[in-house]
């Protein structure tokens, strides 16, 4: 029989709206307003998971995003499943299915629990120490470790949900809608500032909203009633936008913040469909007000991790906000006054509080007095030394502390039965976002907290995230800061009358003493990663000093919760052990995201075909219709090859290559970068950017150019045509177009502003069809009968304006294949039409469309390089055996001086050569290493293969390669060592085909 621990009604829980859900396969119900955690607690389910390393039973500890234990796998659908969801944040909905993580076969009987008994064998750095040797065993270790490591299961299918990104600009961003955030947002918005108020919870109001103590009053009203009125006014203020279920993940420089807005996770299954699930907000705020509140600290003592041990503030919230009793025999364990307040609240709801254990000797406030008046037994100067109960706490043992708090006043032990232990170790301001933004903290000794000190941008922290924990301090200090920050004279909160009892000082003991030696205890510091005080002390003993090293060695603070609860204790224990002050030690770095983000949120709409922009040529539809396979070149989709009748790629490329040399081929060259260059200094400019001379290039002529970086390395190449006296059109490689334009602009604007030159990218303005082969002339003649194509009037490397069916085009007689060849450039929207006309005119010559693969093969037969394939940013033109293109006469050009550096002049640099294989049918692998000696180990690697093909026109395998000192190794035999054999190769001249260039003019 399930117990129902919903003991009181709450206005935040709609008991008319019952919601059924499943946890670990079992059906439960809760109400609208419940989180999975509150609904489970109402059903008396505390055991929700197993710990990461020791597989110890764990329960719900908190009521918010800082939860370390109650992280669950939601949805067992392979596409929608999500691991590591905090049960304390997950709002229940109809059809919710959640399950415990990190346990097998079940949370009640978990085989991994054996690790708990083996724990003496699993100290800090266990993996580092154990799996180091023998090195050859690593693969075996890794297999086992990978299977037992990790939290939860990833989805195995694409995420069908929709995610979104949105930019928001505002005057004031307020993070956190507790009482200080609400005061800030209202003040800012009422002063005509466009204000955005965010809160990670589903309701605003923070913890004040369910505060219900007669000791805490604002203007004679209960503080929660006062705040409710404020909130109802807030909803009507223009200029103010409120977003709930929105967690700020990152706070970057210049007040740029990322937040995740959760839109459908709380909706019933059938209402989620086709709605945006989560949205990443990219917020640029002029001013930021951080009001993120504070996180309650646990206490570190032996076995402080059992189900039923919870933060005191969580116990209070489950009772006050959700109407749920987390236990019927509650004991509080505290070092401060807030536990008394919580105990009173429970008591008034009829939830039994058996005792309060207080490590302080004295406390005397309205709350402590009231607790005692209610008959709650208070043990002062006492500490818990042990807890019992495997799947849920059932007993604690307490002892009286000595005055220094490090040992005991007497050996007497008291055992107390309980079913819930509410612990509180004080409060830690949530300074995560502040420090992410670059803010510097200072340490306050009094209550051992880090608080904001130096602000890196236009921002302030207020409320308890700024170290103000009591209501009167919060309101007074917040309004004072706000007036200064927003430059205003008054706020409506200046003269509030606030009544709240002053707390007595807290007493911080980072690691509470135990009656057992430390080695025999388990005082957890990081619950999620199972790091104990013992591990931290061991790390220090082993010589780790830096807090960052201790963190990584012990994995403290490295879980999905990033150690929100225990990081301060880790610092405290290190400081105590090392005999220094926490303030001197500093903190580890707080990194985004504050709470985990889904990949979907980060990626937004940029999935599938929207992952990256792509570019298509005007002839693209024709390529698709004619069954082309495509390859990506930069963002371009280029036709790769055109398989016919189920041809393999090899067969298609062989056929295309043969056809291009035997009769005619046609290539879509539209993707080549095209830069229009105009101005009276255009020739001088080209002289400076290319290695060869340009001043004497006649109008109507084309020239190949090689462009270097200032370090002398080849950067790009292409043919440039002189269209007119002061007008050139430059072509670049497909992938290099944007960078070349950028580089040229850089020189023009910064080094040579005196030059009269203008550049514009015209890549997309023209479509280019390149027809090549012995019959290309006849085909062009059919297309443009009135154009004189004789070698005299239209020789190789020249240009002509022409018209095809009255459409203007530019024709260059240039060749990348070594064949007689024409490049026809036409206004882009006529591209497909031009292509079809070429195909029609070439029909009788069996004109064959070929793709990039055949283009690569044909140019390799001619030994023409492809920048980026045969070069890799370390090749000079001399290395490429292209000395002929480097002008000796020109005084300067980009990269010239570097060609005379001692390093670039070395004889044994890698140089471009041709390779042929002894076995002419053996095609080398591109990237394969080249060696001279197959027996040596280690063997000297002389270079590698850069391009390799089987040439159908030569009937043999050919390759280009870069080889150390290769220029002087013609005829030398070398080896390509492969996994199963050594391939014998010979170094040859890189020009394999038609060395005399007879075919260019054929």
């Amino acid at each position: 029989m399930l117990k129902n621990l919903r003991v009181t009604t709450s206005k935040y829980i709609d008991e008319t709206s019952r919601i059924s859900f499943k946890f670990n396969g079992k059906a439960y119900f809760g109400y609208k307003g419940d989180t999975l955690a509150s609904a489970l607690l109402a059903n008396d389910v505390h055991l929700v998971g197993r710990s990461f390393k020791y597989h110890r039973p764990r329960g719900i500890m908190t009521s918010g995003s800082e939860e370390p234990n109650a992280i669950v796998q939601v949805n067992n659908n392979t596409a929608l499943t999500e691991p590591n969801v905090r049960a304390t944040e997950l709002e229940i909905y109809h059809g919710l299915e959640a399950a415990s993580q990190n346990c097998w076969p079940s949370v009640h009987f978990d085989i991994g629990g054996i690790n708990n008994f083996l724990s003496p064998l699993l100290p800090a750095g266990f993996y580092y120490k154990t799996f180091m040797w023998p090195a050859s065993f690593w693969e075996k270790y890794e297999y086992v470790i990978r299977h037992s490591a990790g939290l939860g299961k990833s989805p195995t299918e694409p995420d069908p949900d929709i995610y979104d990104h949105k930019y928001i600009h505002c005057d004031v961003l307020v993070i956190g809608a507790g009482i200080s955030g609400i005061i800030a947002a209202k003040t800012a918005a009422k002063n005509n500032l466009k204000t955005l108020l965010l809160d990670e919870k589903n309701e605003i109001g923070g913890s004040t909203i369910y505060q219900n103590s007669e000791h805490v009053k604002i203007n004679d009203q209960n503080s929660s009633t006062w705040l409710e009125n404020e909130i109802s006014e807030l909803r009507n203020i223009k200029n103010l936008e409120i977003k709930t279920r929105t967690s700020v993940a990152a706070y970057h420089g210049y007040n740029y913040l990322l937040a995740r807005e959760n839109l459908t996770d709380h909706l019933p299954k059938n209402e989620k469909n086709k709605k945006i699930r989560q949205r990443l907000l990219k917020i640029r705020a002029k001013k930021v007000i951080v009001a993120t509140g504070s996180l309650e600290r646990p206490l570190v003592f032996n076995n402080n991790d059992r189900p039923g041990i919870m933060l005191s503030s969580a116990v209070k919230k489950y009772a006050d906000y959700y109407g749920v009793a987390t236990g019927q025999k509650n004991i509080f364990f505290t070092n401060n006054d807030t536990a008394y307040e919580s105990a009173i609240s429970l008591n008034k709801k009829g939830i039994k509080v058996k005792a309060i254990i207080d490590i302080r000797e004295q406390s005397n406030t309205a709350f402590t007095k009231e607790a005692e008046n209610l008959g709650i037994k208070v043990y002062r100067s006492h500490t818990v030394v042990n807890t019992e109960g495997y799947k849920k706490i059932n007993k604690i043992t307490i002892m009286e502390l000595s005055r220094d708090g490090q040992s005991f006043a007497s050996p007497e032990k008291i055992e107390l039965d309980c079913d819930c232990l509410a612990i509180t170790g004080g409060w830690t301001p949530a300074v995560h976002l502040f420090t992410q933004s670059g803010g510097k903290l200072k340490f306050r000794e009094k209550d051992q907290v880090f608080i904001p000190d130096i602000y890196p941008s236009d921002q302030i922290s207020i409320g308890s995230s700024n170290g103000d924990f009591e209501l009167d301090d919060i309101i007074k200090n917040s309004t004072k800061s706000l007036k200064e920050f927003l430059n205003i004279n008054e706020t409506e909160f200046d003269n509030l009358e606030i009544n709240c009892p002053k707390d007595n000082e807290i007493r911080t003991i980072w690691l509470l003493p135990s009656d057992k030696v430390l080695g025999k205890t388990k005082p957890f510091v990081d619950y999620q990663n199972d790091a104990t005080a013992k591990d931290i002390k061991l790390a220090l003993k082993e010589g780790f000093k830096s807090i960052e090293h201790v963190k990584r060695y012990t994995t403290t603070g490295m879980g999905t919760d990033q150690g929100k609860l225990g990081n301060m204790h880790a610092l405290g224990i290190i400081a105590d052990t090392a005999g220094i002050k926490v303030g001197e030690l500093g903190t580890t770095t707080f990194r985004p995201p504050y709470t985990p983000l889904t990949f979907g949120t980060m990626v937004g709409r940029n999935v599938g075909e929207y992952f990256d922009a792509f570019r298509r040529t005007p002839m693209n539809d024709w390529h698709i219709k004619n069954k082309a396979e495509f390859e990506n070149v930069g963002q371009w989709k280029r036709a790769w090859y055109y398989p016919k009748n189920n041809e393999t790629m090899h067969d298609a490329v062989q056929r295309e290559s043969k056809a291009a040399r035997d009769s005619a081929g046609i290539l879509d060259a539209s993707t080549l970068g095209k830069i229009d260059i105009q101005g009276t200094d255009a020739s001088e400019f080209l002289n400076r950017v290319y290695t060869n001379a340009w001043s004497k290039l006649a109008i109507g002529k084309c020239r190949y150019g090689l462009m270097l970086n200032e370090d002398g390395m080849v950067y790009d190449d292409g043919v440039t045509t002189r269209l007119d006296e002061n007008h050139y059109i430059m072509t670049t490689t497909t992938g290099g177009a944007a960078n070349v334009l950028g580089k040229l602009e850089d020189y023009l604007q910064t080094e040579w502003p005196e030059l009269d030159v203008y550049l514009s990218s015209v890549t997309d303005h023209y479509a280019t069809a390149s027809i090549c082969g012995p019959n290309s002339k006849k085909i062009l003649n059919k297309l443009i009968p009135d154009l004189d194509l004789s070698d005299e009037s239209f020789p190789h490397m020249s240009f002509s304006n022409a018209k095809i069916d009255n459409i203007k085009c530019r024709i260059m007689r240039i060749s990348f294949t070594g064949e007689h060849s024409y490049e026809i450039n036409i206004q882009a929207n006529y591209g497909e039409d031009l292509w079809k006309k070429c195909m029609e005119a070439g029909k009788e010559f069996n004109i064959t469309p070929y793709g990039t693969e055949t283009m690569h093969l044909l140019r390799a037969e001619k030994g023409f390089i492809i920048v980026g394939q045969d070069t890799d940013g370390t090749m000079t033109p001399i290395d490429l055996q292209m000395d002929w293109i480097v002008s000796k006469k020109k005084y300067d050009f980009i990269g010239k001086r570097s060609l005379y550096r001692s390093d670039t002049m070395k004889e044994d640099r890698k140089q471009l050569v041709g390779l042929i294989t002894d076995n002419t049918s053996e095609v080398l692998e591109e990237g394969a290493q080249i060696v001279a000696n197959t027996n040596a180990t280690p063997v000297a690697m002389l270079g590698h293969v850069t391009s390799s093909y089987y040439s159908p026109n030569l009937n043999k395998s050919i390759a280009l390669a870069v080889v150390r000192g290769g220029k002087n190794m013609l005829g030398q035999k070398l080896f390509i060592p492969m996994e199963d054999k050594n391939i014998n190769v010979t170094i040859v001249d890189p020009v394999f085909f038609d060395k005399e260039n007879v075919r260019l003019n054929a």
Binding site: G253, G438, S898
Partner: protein, 91 residues
């Protein structure tokens, strides 16, 4: 993510810009007259200061203009932006 005030377009997101390394390194007018060491000094040597750094930036996805920027690399505050060829407004 900085907010950068392009001297031609005004305040824009950093994502519109491209960083171009240290500023005020002029390309030698007569490279062939330089020793290997002198050329290497121009070619390779760049400062990487914690503090005030002079940088070149390009409004790559905007007006495409190059300009100079003075940035404190220790806290990413931008002290000034100014056009190419202009003298730095602050030391």
């Amino acid at each position: 993510m900085f907010l950068i005030t392009c001297p031609f377009c005004g305040e824009r997101e950093q994502s519109e810009f491209k960083a171009g390394g240290e500023a005020h390194i002029e390309r030698p007018k007569q490279p062939t007259e330089l020793s290997d060491d002198e050329w290497a000094e121009y070619l390779f040597m760049r400062k990487n200061i914690k503090g005030i750094q002079f940088e070149r930036w390009n409004h790559a996805h905007g007006c495409r203009k190059w300009f100079n920027m003075i940035r404190d690399t220790s806290n990413d505050t931008i002290k000034a932006v100014y056009k190419m060829g202009e003298k730095p407004p602050v030391k």
